[in-house]
């Protein structure tokens, strides 16, 4: 398999993610109802549907244009904290990949790490705060490790997916320290974080994309 990923393949990742979000919309909203304000699933679904509509309207030629469009659409249509956080994630991935027509595995991993950096800059979250960080950071690390061990991108992303899922599950016993859930204090313990759940879907979608 050619290690370089085309813009069309990256676009397919975004579309698979939109599909995953739509499919799990009610579940994400239920998770948010327990420790937030019961709108994460519907907000992310609205945003990803808008992103897909924008891609249908004018398919981007480069990875940079693709992820900038997705990021800006999320920022301007999702609202709440999820809009700026997921929007910044995609915007940073886009600005890192730039104008190249294809993306190598190391470039993809570097872009995902830059996206994580954007999320941290925007949300100021760290490990064990019970946020999307707790799924995204392990996934980024797992991809780096797998590629360093000689894995191809598709295999590396399977490791990243598993790490994101484990990170998601690990949020359940955590005490929330960021966002609206932090107001609950001890009452946030025992609930899975909705943002981390969405990140796990993003990595799941990456394993479905033709990388």
């Amino acid at each position: 398999m050619d290690e370089n990923v085309t813009t069309a393949a990256l676009e397919e990742w975004v579309r698979r993610f939109a599909h995953q979000v739509a499919e799990h919309r009610d579940h994400l909203t239920e998770l948010d109802a327990a420790i937030g304000d019961a709108d994460h699933g519907s907000n992310m679904d609205r945003g990803m549907k808008a992103a897909v509509a924008a891609l249908d309207e004018s398919p981007p030629a480069t990875a940079g244009a693709l992820f900038s469009k997705v990021g800006m659409t999320l920022v301007s249509s999702v609202g709440g904290a999820s809009g700026p956080l997921f929007g910044t994630l995609f915007l940073r991935i886009g600005s890192t990949l730039g104008d190249a027509e294809t993306t190598s595995a190391p470039q993809f991993a570097a872009a995902l790490r830059a996206g994580l950096g954007g999320v941290v800059d925007r949300g100021k979250a760290g490990p064990d705060d019970k946020t999307m960080y707790d799924a995204l950071a392990p996934a980024v690390d797992a991809l780096d490790v797998a590629l360093a061990d000689g894995a191809d991108l598709a295999t590396g992303l399977k490791h990243a997916r598993d790490a994101a899922a484990a990170g998601r599950d690990a949020t359940t016993p955590m005490l929330a320290r960021k966002g609206r859930a932090s107001y609950l204090g001890e009452r946030s313990v025992g609930h899975q974080d909705p943002g981390a759940t969405t990140v796990a879907l993003l990595l799941e979608a990456a394993t479905e994309a033709p990388f």
Binding site: A38, D39, S76, G79, G83, P84, Y183, G185
Partner: protein
């Protein structure tokens, strides 16, 4: 759910149509869901914008007008507006003297306003200052939470900063007054019932007939504790004492006392509550210099109330007394 609505998804857009029809001195940008002054931008005056999730009316759109806000951005129900709304509002009200963003301390609101300020600086070079309100003593302020929520003090701040801007003060001075108000104001609320978000169709949380949620947030977030319903004299003490303890309100310090309804409580009960607040403050030797009683920062149809006390010096009192002409607050004109 019994509500005066058509499609639950159209509530915000249709309310904006109604506001535009009812208050012809205001303008509404329906694409960006912005209510703004008909005379904006005012050359040489600092512009003040705010915004937040819908469902807290009259906050913020009801406070657009002379002596208060220049523009208000309406988000989806209980969801922060998005950066392009605040960017558009900033452009609409920038008369060359810069723009103050008034932001309630909720994670989403803070991030969206931050992105808007970055975009405004990049696109137009507009000077933007931001003030974040965080007056809710029900939330323990610590580095381990998102910090205190912005509630009732936001109303008082928008009035007072608005008056300062109307006097022609510059952006730094208006921002300083706003920060002083936030630093000297504290609030706490109680819910007697949940609220019902139209698109959800059922109450946000369950509260038994004989229960109340002390320290509730304006979206129905849980508070300090759930307690058996008590007489209003007891409830007033449960709200006022933590406020007095949090900010050193010493004997003789005049305050602006704000008793606010959360949407489902009648005005007569708010006056019963104010009577209790007056007695408690009298007992502490804290004089009420000015008062505001009514439903100004609400949580849809939630029954309950919040109390805000703002320690007010002569500057704050004179700005409070300055003329204001908005759909929800109007005096001195």
């Amino acid at each position: 759910m019994k509500k005066l609505i058509n499609d639950p998804n159209d509530v915000v857009a249709e309310a904006l149509r109604g506001i535009e029809a009812a208050h012809t001195e205001l303008r509404v940008d329906h694409q960006h869901k912005i209510i703004y002054r008909g005379d904006a931008p005012k050359q040489g005056k600092v512009g003040i914008i705010s915004g937040g999730g819908s469902g807290h009316e009259p906050l913020h759109g009801g406070f657009v007008g002379l002596g208060m806000l220049d523009a208000a951005c309406a988000g989806e129900m209980f969801t922060s507006p998005v950066p392009e709304q605040m960017l558009a509002a900033t452009k609409l009200v920038d008369g060359g003297a810069g723009v103050l963003h008034v932001v309630k301390n909720y994670t989403g609101d803070v991030m969206n306003f931050e992105m808007a300020a970055e975009l405004a600086a990049a696109e137009t070079g507009a000077r933007v200052a931001s003030v974040v309100t965080d007056d809710d003593v029900a939330v323990q302020n610590s580095t381990w939470t998102a910090g205190r929520r912005g509630v009732g003090v936001t109303v008082l701040l928008e009035k007072i900063a608005g008056a300062a801007a109307e006097q022609g003060r510059d952006l730094d001075q208006v921002a300083d007054v706003a920060r002083k108000v936030n630093a000297n104001g504290r609030s706490m609320g109680v819910a007697l019932t949940s609220c019902t978000v139209p698109a959800v169709g059922k109450p946000t949380f369950e509260l038994g007939e004989g229960e109340m949620e002390l320290g509730v947030g304006i979206h129905g977030e849980p508070g300090r504790e759930r307690l058996p319903l008590a007489p209003v004299s007891d409830i007033a003490a449960m709200l006022v004492e933590p406020i007095l303890a949090d900010l050193p309100f010493t004997s003789g310090d005049p305050v602006i006392a704000f008793v606010n309804g959360l949407g489902g409580t009648p005005l007569i009960e708010l006056y019963v509550l104010f009577n209790e607040v007056n007695k408690i403050l009298g007992g502490h030797g804290v004089p009420i210099a000015r008062s505001l009683v009514g439903s100004y920062i609400t949580s849809l149809d939630m029954a309950g109330a919040s109390i805000t006390l703002l320690k007010a010096d002569d500057e704050v009192l004179s700005l409070w007394d300055a003329p204001v002409n908005t759909s929800a607050l109007r005096w001195g004109i």
